[in-house]
Amino acid sequence: MQIHSPEFKENARIALHNEPLQAALGQFKFGFPVNRARAIANLPEFETLRDHARDLKNHIIQNLDIYLEQFEQQVTANGGHVHWCSTAEDARQAILDICQHVGAKTVTKGKSMVSEEINLNDYLEANGIEPVETDLGEYILQLRGDHPSHIIAPAIHLNVDDVADTFHEHHHRPRSDDPQTLMKEAREVLRKKFVSADVGITGANFLVAETGSTIIVTNEGNGDLTQTLPKTHIVISSIEKVVPNLEDMSLFLRLLARSSTGQEFTVYNTLSTGPRRPDDQDGPENFHVVLVDNGRSDMVGTDFQDMLRCIRCAACMNHCPVYGAVGGHSYGWVYPGPMGSVLTPQMIGIDKSAHLPNASTACGKCQEVCPVRIPLPKLMRHWREKEFEQHLTPSTVRWGLAGWAFFAKRPALYRWLARSSAWFMRRMAGKKGRISKLPMAGGWTDWREMPAPQGATFMDQWKKRQSGDQS
């Protein structure tokens, strides 16, 4: 996927004025967050499970090489193959090699964000292999030449009408705008693809060191058809997904469905362990696991290590006011929302993504809902600091911050300035009481509104309080 993160501000401005997108996003806020809240209310142990999950992930990172080594041994013992890939390029090449080795012409694909990360589809196509996305959302996007805007609900930015038009154009059937009819149509069309594919590629939610198994968590069942019908099954996964044993995996499974879609459990949780056994009548004859690093090992031991705990549940974006306002495409690369604002700079460079860690209202909602308790606001702040150190911040903002530092070191001046600027901001907000433009802070206010300061400044109130006046 091409990188459009440098244009975040422009993307966001356009998104805010895109009415169909705003309609889709308006609906979105009442789905996942509401379901999550309900699921959590049904599980009194949820908060304790989060603590355990955080601690277990930390333990895994400390022993990452050991668990990965064990995982590889078990995959091999079960007749599978592990391919280690440092970079996206390595991973693309490894997958192409496997496909070419088995003479593949078509490849069906389950949903995998890592495959988006390494831009797999374009690469396969360029090498004469047809990739077919089989997750319903991903399939719609592939027909439209579009990309996911959300990590678990890739087509969340589209409305029923968009899908109706797309299917009408590509399936050559009468146009229907009934979701049930549309889904049936896709089911029929894709069935043929499942059956005729030479290779099936799926992602993985976890890798189990104990058994050499990979697991996918899906609601549609496409991932299962993808891996069961073709002769070759390739799993593509990043390295931080390994867990010690099945019990540990269960801990994360209890958190994953509830945090993401708000289900008690996702419909299909499927473990894959090696190729088909001698007496099996179906299933793949070859089993490959492509393990991708792509910058993750660089995060170990740094300020960003906590991000390696991420289980890709999407709760942070589901609850993010910025994501909810501008949608996933505005972020300009594969991973949107708060988790994307931390991961993207790591993967494509802070120079190309400096706006993302600033795309925060510092409301802290993401951290509040993250099942593995990643301190996302803090990590975004780390990127802002790094960016500032590298002088990537536009000069007006830097000038503004330097100015603030100058006044902050001079208390009397600061108090005067704060009082007069509160007055100034109230004037700017007018009757609405909300400010949608601030001079020299366009980067902040172009896609945010903020309430005008009410009443006296904090310092004034503090002084009053200290002198015993509680008004």
Binding site: A24, Q27, F28, G31, L43, P44, L49, L56, N63, I66, Q70, A77, N78, W84, T134, L136, G137, I140, A155, L158, P179, M183, R187, L190, R191, F194, N219, E220, G221, N222, L225, T228, I239, P244, L246, E247, S250, L251, L253, R254, F265, V267, Y268, N269, T270, L271, S272, T273, G274, P275, R276, R277, D280, Q281, D282, D298, M299, V300, G301, T302
Partner: protein, 223 residues
């Protein structure tokens, strides 16, 4: 080689070299301990309680339950369901306990033991366990129960005996390891209700790529 490069970077980040013998032994022991993490209290019930919980959780996940007083009732109940739906072909797992039943009640409905194919309407399989915690079925691949039966047909009929119902996932893992001490079957499927998707206009629809219907024949057993 990429593996060495990746491991070196991880180790540099962890500020250590290759793990010590003790650290490796500790991690391996952790893997082998198979110690359950925190298991929610909801599934820690007596067996009748677990059966009740399984019933309510699987129904909540939109699975259909059909009660049988004994396994011998299965052919007539399957026939009844199929006639009601207007289906005439049943693709079945090749389990001996299924084959031994008297399938005469099927009349003109055919029952064939084979892998599933595109276009099949109905499949019938057993399962290894029912997990009360979330109303989840656990199935796995094997010579007599091809995995395509669980995913390709439009409707999946599953036979579950009450004695197969356990409380939590961890109970099912223990059972699985006992049945397969050397290595897991190629695939283990945890199934909770019929397939679904909300990818079209954020409207939840049943029947995406997997079965549109999941019917559980729950067989009573004396306690």
């Amino acid at each position: 080689m990429s593996k060495t490069a990746i491991f070196n970077k991880i180790r540099r980040g962890l500020k250590r070299g290759a793990p010590s013998a003790e650290q490796t032994a500790a991690a391996l022991a952790r893997i082998q301990s198979r110690k359950p993490e925190l298991v929610p209290a909801r599934s820690q019930l007596d067996h009748p309680g677990q059966i009740e919980l399984f019933r309510s959780m699987s129904s909540q996940a939109a699975a259909k339950l059909i009660d049988l007083d004994s396994l011998t009732q299965l052919p007539e109940k399957v026939a009844e369901w199929m006639q009601h739906q207007g289906f005439t072909e049943l693709v079945s797992a090749n389990e001996s306990w299924l084959n031994e039943l008297d399938w005469a009640p099927l009349n003109n409905i055919s029952r064939t033991c084979r892998v599933a194919q595109s276009g099949d309407n109905v499949s019938l399989t057993g399962c290894m366990a029912g997990i009360a915690e979330t109303g989840t079925l656990m199935l796995h691949s094997g010579g007599n129960s091809p995995t395509t039966l669980n995913f390709l047909p439009d409707c999946h009929l599953v036979v579950l005996r009450e004695s197969q119902i356990v409380g939590c996932y961890e109970d099912a893992w223990a059972m699985l390891r006992q049945n397969h001490p050397d290595s897991l079957p190629r695939t283990v499927n945890m199934i909770t209700g019929p397939s679904r998707s909300a990818d079209i206009g954020q409207k939840l629809q049943m029947g995406a790529h997997g079965p549109c219907e999941l019917v559980i024949f729950l067989v009573k057993e004396a306690h």
